[in-house]
């Protein structure tokens, strides 16, 4: 045993050493907790900036005043506050959190750092569902076309994850097969959507194109509440599973031998992933990279302990989307650059950087 700064000369320094070691470990835990809190603070700042930026020039002060006393605002200002700024900002952060949390769970469960709702076909399946609803709307009095689009998108997205789950039960289907199947899903769904676009009338075509491009502009308070509810319900379950997920990172056999029911864990995780990803994508369309890059950035900050990684991923995802939302308003004054495009611009360089860094590690 090598001599180290921890080793005290006497044999009964064990208790003292233990206390010291505990200290280092505890410091590490504290550091990680502070990082997570720090992310939360940054997110709040970002949201405040997002709320205070926009072409109408309404500043944060007036917006906050208007929240407490709506009578001081004119009608247009009220619409801007309640129907534009607040919903768009909140939707951005909720979607970012949902996608990144889903991505973090996917990367553990499927043991693949490239797994995300986007790369595994959830977004494409949602786009397919929405496209079918747009191209062939049902005429039912109680089922408005706009609602149909969201519902179909959700159902297809959810179904795609269930399909992945069913695949994982097949004998011999390892995580690699799952990822490949997800890729097949991406291309397959995109192909059908393109076919629908080919057959579409002008009006339908425009709707299809609009939907597939991710945008927070379809946000309303019903959707916000629903997504917030889904996050609030799912997150505790994610956290509860996080210690077992950490063990899963050490190898499936090892985890199983430690008593972790990997099958159940995987199933429950996929349920959570479907709920999060399907809801998020159904409300905003295709947004790439947040679900992939968010967890990776979080991992660089807090490491592989999923108790920290899950909340950190959610926060990083929310932060990325919030910053993208700000950028989408400011890049071209008076013009919106759809947030789905901005996340790709932010995500690609970060992603490439991560790949290089990872290469050095291996």
């Amino acid at each position: 045993m090598s001599v180290s700064s921890y080793c005290l000369a006497s044999a009964d320094g064990t208790a003292a050493e233990s206390a010291t070691l505990g200290l280092q470990y505890r410091r590490q835990i504290l550091r990680r907790t502070l990082l997570v809190l720090g992310l939360a603070v940054m997110l709040c700042l970002s949201v405040l900036i997002d709320l205070s930026s926009g072409p109408s020039g309404m500043g944060l002060a007036r917006l906050v005043e208007g929240l407490f006393d709506p009578s001081i605002l004119q009608l247009t200002e009220r619409v801007i506050v309640w129907n534009v700024r607040l919903p768009y900002s909140l939707m951005a952060l909720l979607v970012g959190a949902a996608l990144a949390l889903a991505g973090a769970e996917m990367q553990v469960i499927l043991d693949n750092p490239l797994a995300s709702p986007f790369t595994l076909g959830v977004s494409s399946a949602a786009a397919l569902g929405a496209s079918l609803a747009i191209a062939f709307p049902l005429t039912l009095a109680w089922f408005a076309p706009s609602l149909q689009i969201t519902v179909f998108a959700f159902v297809f997205a959810f179904g795609s994850v269930l399909l992945l789950q069913a695949m994982s039960r097949l004998r011999g289907a390892g995580t690699e097969s799952l990822v490949l199947f997800g890729i097949a899903l991406v291309f397959g769904c995109n192909a059908v959507v393109s076919l629908l676009q080919l057959l579409a009338t002008e009006d339908v075509l425009q709707q299809l194109v609009f939907w597939t491009m991710g945008s927070v502009a379809r946000a309303d308070w019903n959707k916000l509440s629903l997504l917030a509810l889904v996050l609030a319900v799912v997150m505790p379950f994610s956290l509860r599973a996080s210690p077992r997920m950490t063990l899963l990172r050490l190898g499936e056999d090892r985890a199983r031998s430690f008593g972790v029911d990997v099958r159940r864990l995987r199933f429950a995780s996929l349920m959570r992933i479907s709920l999060l990803a399907a809801t998020a994508v159904a409300f905003v369309g295709t947004i790439g990279f947040v679900g992939l890059v968010g967890p990776h950035i979080a991992r660089l900050l807090v490491g592989e302990d999923q108790r920290f990684l899950f909340p950190a991923s959610a926060l990083v995802g929310a932060l990325l989307m919030s910053l993208s939302s700000i950028a989408s308003k400011l890049i071209l004054p008076g013009v919106i650059v759809p947030v789905g495009i901005v996340t790709a611009f932010v995500g690609v360089p970060v992603f490439v950087m991560l790949v290089f860094k990872r290469g050095k590690q291996l």
């Binding site: 057959l199 009338t201 075509l205 609009f210 945008s215 308003k329 071209l332 008076g334 013009v335 759809p338």
Partner: protein, 378 residues
Amino acid sequence: MNLYRACRRLVASSLLVAAGWAGIAPVALAVEVTDVLGRKVEVSAEPLRIVLGEGRLFYALALLDREAPFKRIVGWQSDMRLLDPNTYAMYERTYPEVKDIAVIGQASEQSVSVEQILSLKPDLAIFSIAGEGPTQHSPIADLLDKAGIPVLFIDFRVNPITGVQTSLSALGALLGREQQAQQYLDFYNSHLNRITDAVAELRPEDKPSVFLELLPMVWQAPGHTTGKSGMGSVIEAVGGRNIAAGVVPGALGDVNVEYVLTEDPDVYIASGNRQPGLLLGADITDAQARESMGRVLARPEFAPLTAIREGRAYGIWHDFYNSPYNILAIEAMARWLHPELFAEVDPKATMQELNGFLATGLSGKYWLDGMSAEAEQP
């Protein structure tokens, strides 16, 4: 909608009708019209701040607000500047204030900022039912509704001919320019009816087959054309048979080059407005048009077409597909398809007449007759 408001509107409408009979055009009373989607759109006073969902919707307003046509426009998308730059340059020369009109989007639905629209405090928004701007499915229409801003949907694109009627009358009524709208529609319809009446008499075998290629050499592949709607319906209206009608399932599509060669249409029409394709539009000269058409026709894919070899190849300004001035395209195409039947039809003269409705008239080359014909000067 409560009873009080309904009564008020009824009184206002009756007064309006009475005033219309009396020849007075009241300005401060509420007006309600039905737009191309069948929606009821109401303004409480003459709109003075208008936002255009697409910049090119301005062409319609130019017909109604002849003096100071840009006076009411407080916001628009940049699509005119980006997609019809020659026309934009022409307007910029005459009306420098064009540069200062607030921009609400680049040239796509996703780029439109609803907050920007709201901040301009418009009293009317005009959107097209399809195209590069917000449509009725866009959440923007709902938001404007919540903010009490009326939205009028017009169409010169999906149903070019019927769309002109509904759109211009609705627009005229809302803006208090019914007279101008009616004058233009009378002019439009008299020219249109001359053609459609004659076409109604034609037997199917008299209708030549037509291939209309959109933006050749600009579009990424040859054979880009339209199906049954849009310009396809215009071809039918002027007594032609669109060879792509049964083949292109949607609004637009790329047909197989082989199919076109097999069909060997009687008439070939190319549309264009910019390099590297056919040059037509504002400030384009005859020489430029001919030279660019020569390049289009020289492409090996379509050079073997009989229509091209025998000089029955024509060019049309691309942006007629979404414009109330499409009567010029209708007349030009009618003449090409049925030269004897429509020998008297004179699109040049019609264009002069149309320019009478505009403060800044069309000036340039907007269609190209057969290359072997004599040069046309605007």
